[in-house]
Symmetry: C2
Subunit: 416 residues, 2 copies
């Protein structure tokens, strides 16, 4: 008889208070122990992963990309282990006194960083998320409830066993990493509404997964999201820089959320910029879909339709639009963007500042590629997805995004 979601999450909640108080050294020891166990059990992991892969292949209607995300190799296992060691080396966010002040009545009020408690992760067939998420939540003093997809269940079961063994061997409660083995829809829905024992949900995956969680959850959600990212080439921009950044933002890794999907070009610079840039992009195999004026400057490309402006291709496809003004560019971005990462390429001081202020997104750039929106690139040391919502965490979520706060008040008998 498998345990119910209520039973599983209650045990995670119990474990969470122990992990919350665990000294940094103990958490780091557990992370390093798991890293070691991953390497030692490489064969077992690959064998279990193979069961998942074989089942996938039998289905026939799977994509190469899906297979690739599901597959674990010795290199990937080494990467997961390395990731855990890196997390162990990061500073512990728990217990930091963010500020403290004294009130006129003598009360000393402090604001201290504390763990969130129990974090539920709902994700797709990427078994490496099992290890990454467990590592980040453990370091930040939380317990984690992992609910991966059915396609990865054998891999996840094997990885969760290793994670729990590492915790146990280090003297931490194994329930701090809890895998929901029931991959059915009902179990997921139950987890999304388990407000009593789960403090936060983080969905990691495609748009439809995130939408399902947002629509069904009563537990607060940290939404990681779509990136319909723009680069706007302002009048007077350095053309060489603009060409280089547009190329990087589109082609360096087109399948990720911080890649550029639409290029906006001021009409004054379009005649000089567009031929140079689109030559490079089409030369690399990018399918360009342009507005009327773009096609005048660079004939022979597909016509962009309304739908293109709102599409996150995650592919070697790019929509291009010529705009009449800075204001039109900002208006377009705020209308069609998903609030992820947006860039202006400019030499104009005022428009640089205005862009940073007027564009409503998690990360706004002047003269750099949107591809930098990433926890490691920003120097946060780690990343649990990129938040496109405005509450709690916005942009790349490091360890701090996995914490809450608490007011601590030192009194000497004060009453109101």
């Amino acid at each position: 008889m498998p345990e119910t979601i209520a039973e599983l999450t209650r045990k995670a909640k119990d474990a969470s208070s122990q992990v919350a108080e665990a000294p940094t050294s103990l958490k780091n020891e557990a992370l390093v122990a798991v890293a070691r166990l991953l390497i030692e059990n490489e064969e077992d992991i690959i064998q279990n992963n193979k069961v998942d892969l074989d089942r996938l292949v039998q289905k026939k209607d799977y994509s190469k990309a899906f297979y690739d995300r599901l597959q674990l190799t010795p290199e990937r296992i080494a990467d997961m282990a390395g990731g855990l060691r890196e997390i162990a080396a990061l500073p512990d966010p728990v217990g930091e006194m963010l500020s403290m002040w004294k009130r006129p009545n003598g009360l000393q009020v402090g604001l201290v960083q504390v763990p969130l408690g129990v974090i539920g992760i709902i994700y797709e067939a990427r078994p490496n998320v099992t290890v990454d998420a467990a590592g980040l939540t453990l370091k930040s003093g939380n317990a984690v409830v992992l609910r991966g997809s059915s396609e990865a269940i054998n891999s996840n079961r094997c990885l969760a066993k290793i994670l729990r063994r590492g915790l146990r061997e280090s003297g931490l409660p194994e329930d701090a990493v809890t895998l929901v083995e029931d991959t059915g829809r009902d179990a997921a829905l139950e987890l999304m509404r388990m407000n009593e024992f789960v403090d936060v949900l983080i969905p990691r995956g495609g748009a439809s997964l995130i939408k399902t969680v947002v629509e069904n959850a009563t537990v607060p959600v940290l939404e990681t999201g779509e990136g319909n990212c723009h680069t706007y080439i302002d009048a007077g921009a350095d053309i060489e820089m603009a060409v280089k950044i547009a190329d990087n933002a589109k082609t360096q890794r087109p399948g990720v959320c911080n890649a550029m999907e639409t290029l906006l070009v001021h009409r004054e610079i379009a005649p000089a910029f567009l031929p140079a840039s689109l030559e490079v992009l089409t030369g690399k195999g990018v399918e360009v879909r342009g507005c009327e004026r773009t096609r005048q400057h660079y004939p022979g490309i597909k016509e962009a339709v309304e739908e293109d402006w709102g599409t996150e291709y995650l592919d070697m496809i790019l929509a291009v639009k010529v705009v009449d003004s800075f204001e039109e560019a900002v208006g377009h971005i705020n209308a069609y963007g998903t609030g992820h990462s947006e860039a202006i390429i400019t030499t104009d001081y005022s428009r640089a500042l205005a862009f940073l202020s007027k564009v409503d997104a998690a990360a706004v750039y002047v003269n750099a590629s949107t591809r930098f929106t990433d926890g490691f690139e920003f120097g946060l040391g780690a990343e649990m997805g990129i938040s496109t919502q405005k509450l709690h965490a916005r942009g790349p979520m490091g360890l701090q995004a996995l914490t809450s706060k608490k007011f601590v008040v030192f009194g000497e008998g004060q009453v109101r």
Copy 2:
């Protein structure tokens, strides 16, 4: 034909970008203008409020407390105006650069405080919330969509008209304060799911209102919550201080969320503390419900049943329990508390620190009354309710809780 929720919130969204960029002086000017208009239109406000009050009286099955919350008097109008002037005097949270650092590749990454956008407030028959909420959201650079209850609709309509006039006269968009005049359930549900135009919802009111919002909203919710608050009298506590704090926490204002609901007493101090404390409390009219041992030390009181430990009375009623140990007290609080405000009265250094660390609540106290959990008392200068959730804001929410963050990146052509 009244405007739909989609139309209303879209206009608020449009207005929000103007308010987000408004200079501090302009926002303050609008706040002071509204304060002046409230006083100038006192008669009109009271007349409209009277329509609501008369309708309430006709219903017959209303409580005195409900009538009291709904009623606006010249004093209350002056208070609302004074509140706005105080908000005008607070520092502007918008645009503060929280930190900025340089990456090895030369990128300068900064984290800046920005408005949330559009904040939806769903509240009960307290027309003063209309003005308070509008003032706080405006100062923090947001637009607000107000959805009060039907009982206060005439009062709210009159107040919203004044708020919008103040905005207009100061050159700010009047849609930054938008009242939903349709007080039906469907309109509220639509507002809760208007993710396209509403960034955050804040329910303000009783437990059932908050539950409805949490269960139905897809827009992220800032949950303000119930306070089942405890005071634990540790062995060896200063009895005089303990009696004074218990009295204050229970009786100074029993109807509010930071008032004490359960008193926990270590068995060693119970014989000396309980008679002294309960004498004071019952003398003030508090109905005490005690556990077995409490009733031995102070006979003649009602017996506490299981349900009492989980009840937020918001009244002159107190549950009292004698515990065997510090650990039992902490366990009881973490099991029955709502994560609001919890206090220990002690002279022991280690247990003081352990209480602050082990108790999971928005505000944890040593030797002070839980009644201090309040934005003004904590020195935040203002308050938009007290959050009992762990995401984004915890404890009293000041202006900062009404902001989000944004990464701004200054580059010079960097690519990955």
